[in-house]
């Protein structure tokens, strides 16, 4: 357990916070859960960094997929799930293509997102995307600029999707409703306000 000292000054308390990790604080079940959902043997990671080196997100953000693999292996559940970087993976799967241990770091990330989502830890923009899909069938719906561009290229203003065939929207909504996704997105977004 981390040592807590009773500083009166909160800034000082934060500055001098115990930054060690303690094995007693880790959750070994977390690794098992990640491996079960992600269907990849994350504990075989030998931290070579090929994943981060291949990652299109890494050079532009603080997202380090190798560190998430490490945290999963060590069972540092709180740290992994509350880190907003967890949501910066673009799921391009380049790391999975190149991993010399034949692991799927992308799937481990997706598993951790699943576990985070169960605890309602989801960034607002992801929830808004859910609302948009529910409303329009698109995470990024068509807009006027796009429509103009399409026309200029000789295409129909609306693409061959729910934009053109809104009669398929109820089907999409049914899937989202089945998992209670829209309801949950609404609730979490409302709570945050």
């Amino acid at each position: 357990m981390a040592v807590k000292k009773d500083y009166k000054d909160q800034k000082l308390a934060e500055k001098l916070r115990d930054r060690k990790y303690y094995v007693s604080d880790t959750n070994p079940e977390f690794l098992k859960e990640v491996e079960k959902i992600g269907q990849t043997a994350a504990h075989m990671c030998f931290q070579c960094g090929t994943c981060t080196g291949s990652c299109p997100s890494a050079p532009r953000s603080s997202y380090r997929i190798r560190l998430f693999m490490r945290k999963a292996v060590l069972g540092l559940e709180e740290e992994a799930l509350t880190d907003p970087d967890l949501w910066l993976c673009t799921t391009c799967y380049t790391c999975t293509d190149r991993c010399p241990r034949d692991l799927a770091p992308t799937d481990a990330i997706m598993a951790m997102r699943n576990i985070a989502a169960r605890r309602d830890i989801i960034p607002r923009n992801f929830l808004q995307t859910v609302q948009l899909i529910y409303k329009t069938g698109h995470g990024v719906p068509n807009n006027d600029t796009n429509r103009a561009a399409r026309k200029k290229l000789g295409l129909d203003a609306e693409p061959e999707t729910t934009h053109k065939y809104p009669e398929y929207l109820p089907g999409i909504r049914k899937i989202l409703d089945h998992y209670g996704l829209k309801e949950r997105a609404d609730r979490i977004l409302a709570e945050g306000e």
Binding site: G49, T52, A58, P100
Partner: protein
């Protein structure tokens, strides 16, 4: 010769080993011993902490005398481990050593049923009951001795094969050294310097090459491959294919009546030859002619015609003149030799690293392999030792070294093992560029630096001190600047936790190694097993690293697994020592597990003759009819014939039908009686 005792009323002694807690931890020894005492034919049952120890073996010796035993059963580890030990004890007690049977209650019982003591105990009782049933029917057997041919064969003329051949030859044994290339020297002759001492590779190798060439006991056969192998330890009949070389040695020329002729290595033929091909010795970076030598220090100094390239213009024949060394109508010749033992030293090839597409080998000009680097940095190489970029011939200043390129890779494209010497030669490469190119900076991308040998860690220290930059991260990908042909090496510096993009002039891939192309074919000829990655399988990874499961065949060097030069030479000396033992003994004892023909039952149908994988059986005339006859020295006791014989006329010694039936009966019907 020992006296063969006829079977009498069987009296079996059973000895159960605790093996510390290895067996006793899960098997109830006491209950097993009590059970064994009640089995039929058991005269005495006992247990001991370590049966293989001297007091344990003495128990067997004493019990044989005290209880007048006819057979011994030891329930302990695998017979692969201690069968010879307990056979020895049985012999010491005055019994024929083949009156011993082992029940494996460790590897096949206590170790796998560690957490099921009751079931393990029951299984141990079963194993002992079965062994006792066989022991009651065991007979005296006399091992057969066969003479050993006083000659040895070494396959592969790299540093390992050369060392093995020299050791054998210096021990007075005629040694055939067979090399598929036109010269001996192998991979080591392609290297510039050797770590960690920085000796010039050629300088320390060529004296050995000369020794091999000059040694009277070594029959050096270059440009030759093994075609067929027959026989067994002591008596291998080997057919060698002498590939059509097109050039005669002095002796060969004399044999044809051209006294004073034959190739003297003058090189006039090479000068006139109009055909140009890439030289494989220089990894294709330098030209050679259709009539060629690899490099000036070849041994033997003898030219070779590449008949795949030769246009038979005859210019070489003309310029060779009276020496008459060139014969453009040469064909492959087959030579038969007889040897007592053989050593395989077939070495390695570089993994085709272009298969790892993210590093761009063969796609980007300035990505090379470490073997190409060795040739480029070598004074006798295609650039005279001036390291240059293939794209523009400029001297590179920033050089990236990619370690574990294809090694430690479980993706299926690459090799799961560590290739073992890449860390060290990459450190050496870093040193060489710092030494040769002013201002050069090596960037070494590594996962772990494995500097495990004598003075290796100190070498790492030295290179770090010389200014090499170490980046701990495996290279994710390499991109080429299409204008400058510079390379961007992308990786994560895992110690900083940040992605890096290092722009370099040249990238050297420390490519993984794999068994040489001929290894698979050669190992099949000699009946040697390989592990799943293709490296040849030693008899025991720790206690018999030079032997194989085929008696009389030994391994040296990288063909058994990745090794650096010191380890290769050490193993070669070990293999030479092992291979010389049967030769010096003059004869070897074969385990007497031969098939025997029961002539009164044999119908002479001859079906078994064709089934035998070792050509050990034949049909002979006896008393006016045909019967099968076994050449015992060739028989391996596999049982194929015995299992097949429709008349039950083949008796497999030590695995005879009544013995096996008794074992099955004991298992199915047995129990306390």
């Amino acid at each position: 010769m020992a006296e063969v005792k006829k079977n009498e009323e069987p009296r079996i002694g059973v000895f159960v080993c605790h093996c510390g807690t290895n067996i006793a931890g899960s098997v109830d020894i006491k209950s097993v011993v009590e059970y064994a005492k009640k089995l039929p034919n058991v005269a005495v049952a006992d247990d001991y902490q370590y049966m293989c120890s001297t007091p344990g073996q003495n128990k067997i010796v004493e019990a044989i005398k005290e209880h007048n035993l006819t057979g011994i059963v030891v329930a302990a580890c695998s017979p692969r481990l201690h069968e010879p030990t307990f056979r020895g004890a049985t012999k010491m007690g005055g019994l024929n050593p083949f009156r011993f049977e082992m029940a494996n209650i460790r590897e096949q019982n206590s170790w796998v049923h560690m957490h099921q003591p009751e079931e393990a105990t029951a299984k141990a009782k079963d194993a002992i009951r079965i062994a006792v049933a066989k022991a009651a029917l065991l007979e005296d057997l006399i091992p057969k001795s066969v003479p050993v041919e006083k000659a040895a064969l070494v396959v592969g003329g790299g540093v390992g094969g050369m060392q093995a051949a020299l050791d054998l030859a210096n021990a007075g044994i005629t040694t055939y050294l067979v090399e598929k290339n036109p010269t001996i020297g192998g991979r080591m002759s392609q290297l510039d310097k050797t770590f960690p001492t920085l000796d010039c590779s050629q300088c320390i190798l060529t004296p050995k090459m000369v020794d091999v060439y000059r040694n009277e006991n070594i029959k050096l056969m270059t440009y030759t491959e093994v075609e067929a192998v027959e026989g067994y330890i002591g008596n291998f009949d080997v057919t060698l294919r002498k590939k059509a070389r097109g050039v005669l040695t002095t002796e060969e020329a004399e044999a044809r009546g051209y006294v004073g002729g034959g190739c003297n290595g003058c090189g006039d033929c090479e000068g006139v030859c109009p055909v140009i091909k890439p030289n494989p010795f220089e990894v294709g970076m330098a030209p050679r002619k259709a009539i060629y030598i690899y490099h000036p220090q070849v041994s033997p100094l003898l030219y070779t015609v590449d008949f795949d390239a030769c246009v038979k213009c005859g210019l070489c024949v003309d310029i060779c003149g009276d020496k008459k060394a060139v014969d453009l109508n040469a064909t492959d010749e087959f030579v038969k030799i007889k040897v007592g033992t053989a050593i395989l030293a077939t070495g390695y090839d570089i993994f085709p690293i272009e298969q790892k597409t993210e590093w761009g080998y063969k796609r980007y000009d300035n990505v090379i392999t470490s073997l190409e680097f060795e040739r480029l940095i070598c004074a006798s190489g295609p650039t005279g030792g001036h390291l240059v970029r293939p794209s523009d011939g400029e001297t590179p200043k920033r050089i990236g070294f990619v370690l574990c390129a294809g090694s430690r890779d479980n993706t299926g494209v690459g090799k799961p093992y560590c290739s073992r010497f890449c860390c060290m030669y990459s450190l050496k490469h870093a040193h060489q560029i710092i030494e040769k190119i002013p201002g050069a900076v090596p960037y070494i991308f590594y996962m772990d630096i494995r500097s495990f040998g004598k003075m290796y860690e100190e070498f790492y220290y030295r290179i770090q001190n010389e200014g090499a930059k170490f980046i701990r991260g495996r290279v994710a990908n390499i991109l080429e600047d299409p204008v400058t042909k510079n390379l961007h090496v992308n990786a994560e510096d895992t110690l900083l936790g940040r992605p890096v993009d290092v722009e370099v002039d040249l990238v050297v891939l420390a490519a993984a190694i794999q068994p040489s192309a001929e290894t698979e074919r050669t190992r099949r000829l000699f009946g040697v097993s390989c592990s799943q990655d293709g490296w040849l399988l030693e008899a025991h990874p720790k206690l018999n690293p030079c032997g194989t499961t085929t008696a009389g065949v030994y391994l040296a060097g990288v063909c058994q697994g990745p090794k650096d030069i010191p380890d290769t030479v050490a193993q070669a000396e070990g293999a030479a020592s092992a291979a010389s033992i049967p030769i010096h003994l003059g004869e070897v004892e074969l385990e007497p597990y031969f098939a025997q023909c029961i002539e009164e039952k044999c119908a002479g149908c001859g079906m078994c003759v064709n089934l035998c994988p070792y050509q050990a059986l034949s049909l002979v005339e006896k008393d006016g009819r045909k019967v099968m006859q076994v050449t015992e020295a060739k028989c391996k006791g596999c049982g194929t014939c015995g299992g097949f014989c429709p008349g039950g006329a083949i008796w497999m010694q030590h695995f005879a039908t009544p013995q096996i039936i008794a074992q099955i009966d004991a298992f199915l019907l047995g129990g306390e009686q």
